[in-house]
Structures are given as C-alpha cells and as structure tokens.
Amino acid sequence: MHPVFHASHSSAFIRGAMFLALFAASFAQAQVAIKGKTVYTMSDAKTITDGVVVITDGKIAAVGKAADVKIPDGYKVIEGAVVTPGLIDGRGTVGVSGIFNQKQDQDQLERSSPVQPELRGIDAYNPNDPLVAWVRSLGITTVHTGHAPGELVSGQTCIVKTTGKTVDQAKVVETATVAATLGPWAEKPAPASPGTRAKMIAMLREELIKAQEYLKRGEMTAPPLLPPKDGDKKEEPGRSLHTEALVRVIKREIPLMVTANRSQDISGALRIAKEFNIRIILDSASEAYMLIDELKAANVPVIIHPTMFRMLGEMENMSMETCAKLIHAGIPVAMQSGFESYVPKTRVVLFEAAIAAANGCTFEEALSTITTQPAKILGIAERVGQLKVGMDGDVAIFDGDPFEYTSHCIGVVIDGAVVSDAVK
C-alpha cells in the first residue's frame, strides 16, 4: 500500500509531476506489452479475458488472448487486472486553467469581448501544469481542452495527449471546435452585451452571417492569402482571424461546440445549427433529458456535464441519470471534466463516468463515454479510443474495476511510452 502514499503525497506530487512531465517527454518509445486479466478493447474484439496488447513503435501491433499473441523478445511487460484504452476527457480546461488558480495560470476565459473565436487553445495550453500529470496518473491520456464556457464565443479548443513538454509535442488536433455559450453563463452586466438569451442568439447569428458573407466574397482563401492587386489596396479588406475561425464552422470543417443547459438554450443551439447548416456539439446540456427526441432528430452529439457537477443556478435540474438516458436513446454521449473555478480545480472523467455506471449505464456504456464516444465525436477515432491494431499505443492499467473508488490506476502508456507507473 505504501506506494499510494508517495503517489498522492502532494509535495512529492507537485515536484514529481513537473519532473514526470519532463521525464515522460524524454522517454524513448519503448516496445511494450500489457497483459490484463480483463482487457476492454472497446473494438469489435470486445472484452478479452487473459488478454494482451502489444505496442510497437508507439502503435498497437497486436491485441488478443495472451495464449494466442506472442510477445516479441525484449519487450517490457506490464500486467494488471484490468486494461482499457487510454481514457479521453471529452471537454475540460486542464492545462489552461492551472492548479494554483492565480491570475497568471488562468487562461481559459478572455473577458475583453463576448465573441473571440480567433483565440486558440494551443496558445494557452501548458503541458507542464501539475493537473495534467494528475489526470494522466488516473489513466487519462487524451484531453479535449481549451477555452471554457463563459463568453458567447470564448475561443477555440484543441485536443492534446497528456504528455510532451510543449503543446506541439502534445497536440493531436490544433483546432477541434469553436466554443460558444448560451444562457446565463455568457451574460454580461449592463450596459455590456449580451445581457439576455435573445441578444445572445442575435449576436451569434450576426457573427455567422458575417462569416457566410466573408466566405461568399471569396476573401477566405487558403493561407497565404492572395497578394492584394496593384492599385486596389483600399478596396481589399485585410484578413480577419476572427471571421476566418467562424468561416471554418460555416464550411463544416469544425463544429461549433455550444454550452447550453436550460432546455430553451439547447433549443436555441439546435435552431442555429439548422439555420446555418453547421455541425454542432452540445456541451454540458443539463436539461438534455427533456429534449431527447429533438436531439435525436437533429443528430447532435452531447458532451455531457460531469455527473457530479453542483446542482446550482442553471444546473439546478441536472441529473446523474442523463448520461444513461441519452445513450439508451441512441444519442452519442461523451463525458467531460468541465471547468472548475475553485476546489477541486479539475474533475476526473474516470470518476464522472463511474457515477454514470452507477446510475443507469452499463459498465461498457459508461466506459464508452471516456473512450470510443469522445473519439468519434471529436473526430479522432482513427487514432484513439480503442485497443485495436494500428491505433495509438495509449493504454490505462488498473488493479481492479476502474470505476471502483478503491481500485487504483497502476500504469499509463501513451504512444507506447510508460508515462506513469504510480499506484494511484
């Protein structure tokens, strides 16, 4: 039991986390095989008893029964009771809203203006924040992070692995979504706008119409932009990073991720999606259980609020059972850690999914909300979310049911490198 002490002892933790981050980054990709009493592949191979996952050069080379798969000589072998794909946090702010909660480590929200789609998550992400190591030590290998809810359009999000010493090393997707918020979280005090729901929708429509027109005028060309014609400089408007980000939404290249909790805000998001024929992902969606038919008809995926979120304000009607209800209706659902403004500074999707498993989801359904489903919703299913040949070598290893409070995460592998062997 004593390793647990060291693992969770925080003085060691802070220093250790920083050290580990550097250490992990410099880890040469070892050749590694992970043996598990139970291996949840989350692929067509389903669940394998006495299974093994072989990782070669950072990619999964073989998955199967230990009896059938030969582990090549010289491979490092790790063993555990339960093996899962590396876990995915569907939407958090880890690495952007730092552990200390001081002004200098809070970059999740820029308050100077309500619409700033040009802000990139990658320009804020700190791969060395101790909370990145914290979630990694609990099996989370991929995080969809970046700008938080709280402004009408707060900025872009990115997808990173919880390893690497620079964002470039960590990066999976540079711009995953443009994040928008409808409802009271995006309200600004008078005389600033938006101050009401209708104003939010009006402002958002205006921005999207601007993007449509920008696109129509052909001013959005692939960078580098065509040089201005001689003698015509005045007529030629310059590039707008602001509008270009939304043009990508209009072109359906990236989705607009809309944080909306009240049923009327969810309806507002669906209305916008229809009017502009854009892809949206619903975020948080605490009253989604009231609009199951509508969400299904609109074919909109949901990155559901943490199951243990506080039932306050616009979250007052949230339910621990929403996740199960949406899944059973056939709606794609991913779990998120969300944004925490105080203590604890981040949630852990493993624990949030566990509560879903205890409130209507089967074990596999709950596990899918932190593996296959976020991978699909975020467009990274080719690389992560399953233990399948050819996919990234991202694996989490546990000494028991991963959802049980008293189990431990005992190993984490990212791109074939062992990035944590703490008993956590």
Binding site: F100, E321, V343
Partner: protein
C-alpha cells in the same frame, strides 16, 4: 405522530416557562422495526454478516447476529438480505440550508448564530438524507476569522410540508444538550479566505493578532463577571455582551471551535492559539495536515478532512492529498470527514471514505470517520455514530458495500422515522437529481464571493 421531548423533566420545566417545547422529537414510529438478514456495520465492533437491527421508540433496541437477536412479536420486519446497514452518516462541516453567517462589517463576529439564517425548506436537506446523512454541523463560511456560531442538526421533519403538518422549522432540526440548549460550535478560519481589505486582516500575523486580542478581552470580561458574581455585587457585573458571552463559552470549553485551516503553518498557528487560550478545537479541511501529523497528534486535536477530486483551486490546497486520512490515522489522530457541501455533494459523501481507503486508510478507520468520529467531534458520541442499544435510531440501508461506487442509499432513518426512501419517486428525485431537485439560488459561503459567483456562473 407523537411528539416527545428529549428530556422529559427538562421539557416540563421549559414548557411551563415558554409553553412551546423546542427541539421536541416527533416520532411516527409506533411499533418496532426489525431489519433482518443484513450485512451490519455497527462501527462499535466487528461487521456482522447476517445480522439483525431492531429499532423501537426512536432508539436502537437490539443489534446482533440473526440467531442472537429476538425480534419482538409486534415488529414490522424489513428483509435486508444483500443490503448493508450502518449508522446514519455524520457530516462535521456543511453549508446546506442557504445559511449566511457574519456580514462584511468586521472579521470577528462571535454573536452571529447561523441558525438565525437557516432555511429548513432548502432542497439541500433532501439531498443530504439521500446521501445517508442524518446529523450535520452547519456552519457559516470561512470568509471571516470568526464567522459565527454553528448549529448541530438532525434531519428530522423534512417531510412535514408534504404531509400538511406545517414546517419543517428549525425547531425540528435542533439537537439539544442536557440543559435543553441548542448545540453548536464556533466557526473560525485562518489563511487566505479570511484575509481582505481593512477591517479584515491583510496578513497571517495580523489574523492571529486580531483573534488573540478578542480572546484576551474575553478573558478580562470573564474575570470581571466572575469577580462580580463571587462578591454578589450586581453593580460590578459587566453589561451583557453577546460577542463576549460566546467567546467565554469557548474559553470555558463549552463551545468547540471548528477551525478552517489548510496550510501546515496555519495549522500550527491554530494549535499555538489553542494552547494559549485553552479552547477545544477541531481542525477542518487540513490540506497539509500530512506534513504535521505528529504535531497534531501531540496536541490531541481531532481533524475533519475534506476529500476532493484533485488538488488545487487555491494556493493553500495545491498540496492536498488523498492520503491525509491515512497519514493522520497512522499518527494516532482522530479523523472524521466532511462534505463542505456545496464544495462536495452530500449525496456523494461516502466517496470521501472510499477515496481515503484508496490512498491507504483502513476500512474500519474510514467508516468510523464517517460516523462515530464525527459524533465525537460534535460531543454526540453517546447518542449517535454507532449501532448500539440505547442510541438514537439513525440508520441507513445501502444496496451494496458503502465504499463501492455502485452502492445507493436506499433508506435513511432518523430517530426511528424513515426520512428517505429511494423506492419512492419524490425521494428518488433528490438522489439522482432532475427537474426541481436543485437550488435556483446561488449559495452564500465565504470568503471569496467571486469564487461562489464563479462556481455557479463560470465567471472569474
């Protein structure tokens, strides 16, 4: 429904004075109830695999192995096969009830009583019983060095409104001591939460100085009071001062200090003041207690620990550890847990024990920390906190092992009355959440109003 005062003699005395009987126990229980075939966690001894618990007249009448307990002939039997029975959980630090203590006028306000602001209709109470909580210490926030008197409550009468009986009122919730007085402690804080612009302290040393000044004043007040009483001279008696009276209660050991404190040096400051003035203190939250566990053990002071999902959120909590409970247990410190609801959710209180076990605490120690150790901290261990004959019938029934994520609290009983039943839709709503189960209002808590604001609005 019969309403019966806790102390009959006292109640008659009180009743003749005030007509009303405050803090009466209202019990609907008319015949004994026997939980059978359950896995019983008595806390007082070994866990019993196939056990029986009998409750009668609001008290525990029998506990033991099935073959050792005689079930009364008139008992209603609840077959609890496959279920776990344990004492109602004791939360030593909660903010449910929409409470607000001291205001922004000064950092030390001992005369404030949190129960003068408590709303018994708050849905937080319904969620608390859904989490198996039966006794709570409700406190004002940590935004002051001393933010007011706390109140110990039991989750009685929560369904009176729907039963058309009027209430619940605060009188349903109070726990009275042997003198018929409402029980409670005093909330204090140090570190960053209670610092601010003047008249609030701007530094840690100033925080301690302000507190010491008030306790010195209280010592002088008490001396004057005692001298006048000794001489029987009413002219020498100092005028009544509600703040000084409360501080004298602390100096006399009649009111326990519940002290918010995180950093190791702040913990040592509390112990230093405790030694100087001799008050009884419980250390709350204690993010860095693992650094000074032997010192805490040496001082003989109990800890009430919070367990959350990650460290951080403020500088003082950046080195928070799940192993705090284990380290303190090993050092011989008495450990209880708390929700700090809304920081953590009352419905998920059992997670605290389970995560502590994950980090090395013993199962028995963690379960005691949810029950009897909390009861001790509240001076209620003779009445609650374990399943022993004669104690209050505060009992919860769970669907699985209390340390399992898959366990649901199925029933919660207080003083022999069922106050939560997961099989009933109106109760289940508060367990799972759903339309109408939450709080539309922002909680008042402490300190950093911006933090409260932020938690509910995402603003910073």
């Amino acid at each position: 429904m019969t309403c019966k005062p806790i102390h009959a003699v006292m109640a008659i005395f009180v009743a003749t004075l005030f007509v009303v009987v405050p803090g009466a126990i209202c019990t609907a229980q008319t015949k004994p109830i026997a939980f059978t075939n359950a896995h019983v966690i008595t806390i007082a001894g070994e866990e019993i695999d196939k056990g029986t618990v009998v409750i009668k007249d609001g008290k525990i009448a029998a506990v033991g192995k099935a073959d050792a307990v005689k079930i009364p002939a008139d008992a209603q039997t609840i077959d609890a096969a496959g279920k776990f029975i344990m004492p109602g959980l004791v939360d030593t630090h909660s903010h449910v009830g929409g409470v607000a203590g001291a205001d922004g006028s000064s950092p030390i306000q001992p005369s404030i009583r949190v129960y003068d602001s408590l709303n018994p209709f708050d849905q937080g109470f319904r969620r608390a019983v859904a989490g198996g909580l039966t006794t709570l210490n409700i406190m004002p926030g940590s935004g002051h060095l001393m933010s007011g008197q706390t109140v110990y409550v039991k989750m009685r009468g929560l369904k009176k409104a729907q039963d058309g009986k009027g209430g619940p009122t605060i009188d349903d919730l109070f726990i009275l001591d042997d003198n018929g007085k409402q029980m409670g402690g005093m909330k204090m804080a140090n570190g960053t939460n209670s610092m601010g612009n003047a008249p609030f302290p701007g530094t840690r040393a100033k925080s301690a100085a302000l507190v010491r000044e008030q306790f010195v004043k209280a010592q002088e007040y008490r001396a004057k009071h005692d001298a006048a009483a000794l001489k029987g001279d009413p002219d020498k008696m100092p005028p009544r001062d509600l703040a000084m009276e409360a501080l004298v209660e602390i100096l006399d050991g009649k009111r326990v200090v519940h002290h918010h404190t995180h950093r190791a040096d702040d913990i040592m400051t509390v112990l230093r003041l405790q030694k100087e003035f001799g008050f009884r203190v419980v250390l709350h939250h204690v993010s860095e207690a693992w650094k000074v566990a032997p010192q805490i053990a040496q001082a003989g002071v109990p800890c009430s620990v919070i367990v959350v999902d990650s460290p951080g959120g403020k500088l003082e909590a950046a080195e928070m550890s799940w192993a705090t409970g284990a380290v303190l247990e090993k050092a011989g410190v008495h450990v209880a847990f708390h929700t700090d609801d809304w920081i953590t959710d009352s419905r998920l209180f059992l997670r605290s024990a389970a995560l502590a076990v994950r980090a090395g605490m013993t199962r028995a120690g963690a379960l005691r920390a949810m029950t009897i150790e909390g009861a001790k901290i509240l001076d209620l261990d003779k009445r609650i906190g374990s399943l022993e004959v004669g104690k209050d019938a505060d009992v919860i029934m769970l669907s699985a092992d209390p340390l399992s994520v898959y366990a649901h609290v199925e029933q919660t009983w207080v003083d022999g009355n069922k106050v939560f039943d997961r099989s009933k839709a109106e109760d289940r709503l508060y367990a799972t959440g759903g339309y109408g189960a939450g709080s539309a209002v922002k909680p008042y808590m402490c300190c950093a109003e911006h933090a409260v604001q932020a938690a509910s609005t995402f603003g910073q």
